[in-house]
């Protein structure tokens, strides 16, 4: 079946991003063009400094491209107001970070509740949903614990629960397994893969770990801000 335009969550056309002024100009991303559709898990694979994170932040609307066009959910990012972009991030985009970035002064459950509140859920509904998510990710017993008391694996499970909380159409993950042991990393990748496949959502991951990349539907290799190769991956079954 042919892929329709509405299936394309993210689309980049000749996107270039440069930093600095004329004297010290750095090209972080050069003429990037690709799209990501529903049900797809895309991995941006490349060494540190290859422009992966810049690309993720461009997709999330946190940075404006120097040239080219980025479309998010079928609409050019330039046409969104800052308020609309903020609401988009609250309701339709989930984030997973390498160092989890949970709020240390909030409990695990409050961390998840927070994003549900950002999306406009009522307090009690948000608390109920947050607890349900923590149970789903097998960390319900840690609901009242504060992040500094959790292990790395537990933190990342809470962070993934936070990213999934509003059922976003797009999940952006920056080195989500970078701080985890290989077994824990694989588990997180499987959760992300399931999310994209079973719920027909879209996941974009930046990583330098080739083993992780093997679970992707598609891999884009990057180096020095240039997209080198855009290949479909052999999808491994979820264990």
């Amino acid at each position: 079946m042919k892929e329709s335009e509405t299936d394309k969550i993210v689309r980049l056309d000749n996107v270039t991003k440069t930093f600095g002024s004329n004297g010290h100009r750095t090209v972080a991303l050069r003429n990037a063009s690709f799209h990501v559709s529903r049900g797809e898990l895309l991995v941006l694979l490349g060494p540190s400094g290859s422009g992966k994170t810049t690309l993720l932040t461009l997709i999330a609307g946190l940075l404006e491209p120097t040239s080219g066009k980025i479309s998010l959910f079928g609409r050019s990012i330039g046409h969104y107001t800052s308020k609309e972009l903020q609401q988009l991030r609250a309701r339709r985009i989930g984030f997973v970070f390498q160092t989890f970035l949970l709020i240390d002064s909030l409990t695990a459950q409050e961390n998840v509740t927070l994003v549900l509140r950002f999306a406009g859920k009522a307090r009690t509904e948000a608390q109920r949903r947050a607890h349900e998510l923590l149970r789903q990710f097998q960390v319900a017993h840690l609901a009242e614990k504060f992040p500094p008391t959790l292990s790395q694996g537990e933190k990342q499970r809470v962070a993934v629960a936070r990213a999934f909380a509003n059922g976003p159409d797009l999940i952006i993950a920056d080195e989500p397994t970078g701080s985890l042991e290989s077994k824990q990393g694989l588990e997180i990748m499987q959760l992300l893969q399931q999310y994209a496949r079973d719920l027909n959502k879209c996941v974009v991951i930046a990583t330098h770990d080739l083993r992780i990349a093997e679970l992707a539907h598609r891999i884009i290799r990057m180096e020095d801000g240039v997209l080198l190769q855009n290949t479909a991956s052999t999808i491994r079954p979820v264990i």
């Binding site: 609250a90 309701r91 970035l101 920056d174």
Partner: protein, 264 residues
Amino acid sequence: MASVYLAGFDPQSGMGGPPCLVKGRSVLKNDEIVLDDAFARKYHFRLGDRIRIQDSTMKVVGISTGTNAFVIQYAFVTLQCAQSLTGMPNMVTCYLVRVKESRNVSRVVEEIREELPGVEVYDHWTFLQNNIREMESGFLPFVYTIAAIGVIVLTAILSLLLSVNILERRKDFAVLKTLGSSRSFLSRLIIGQSLLISFAGSMVAVVLFFPMVSVIEFLSPEISTKSSLEQIASVVLTVGTLSLISSFISMQRLRRIYPLEAFS
């Protein structure tokens, strides 16, 4: 050695004498004196003590209140004693005139002015207003200046505290922005924190206020304090307002935190 303002009065009429005695009695003889309560406490004078003024020795027979004007305190002796101490036997600086109830005060004032041209005559209310005005022009600007400095310092300290807190939690704020928190949510967070700090500070101040006042009055009896619930409430309200101003100042730091920082 201590300084006190001596007021000489006629013990027969009692006019111009101590307005309110808390201990002892008023003066009857030329070697007796009534001291202000704050002055007596400051210099540890008691009834029956003898104090030396120039070459005369006076016996403390009474302690009065309402005679402490913060920087000066009054003591009361007979008019004859005051004249003797100043070395001016016929000197009288003011007369207090008690007007019969049937007479109109303004008319009496006019009559005295007509009879004694060049003499300043004031009715009770004008005399009181003149004193209040003098107090306001001399003492209150000093108090207001200290209060204004306090307001500025409190606002600066609170703004600094909040700004440091924002900078310490810079990453958290960047993450919250990335996750889609609205500007109003972050503003409410800062305002809430600021109000919490000021409320906690106000509560500590209220708890410490009365013991501190007792200590101050013990150490400096001439400083007398009076405070009402309305005054305490207005101070707490002012602190609340200052905390709001501080939170708005520190919010400028928040604007310079970019969601992008969550990825660094």
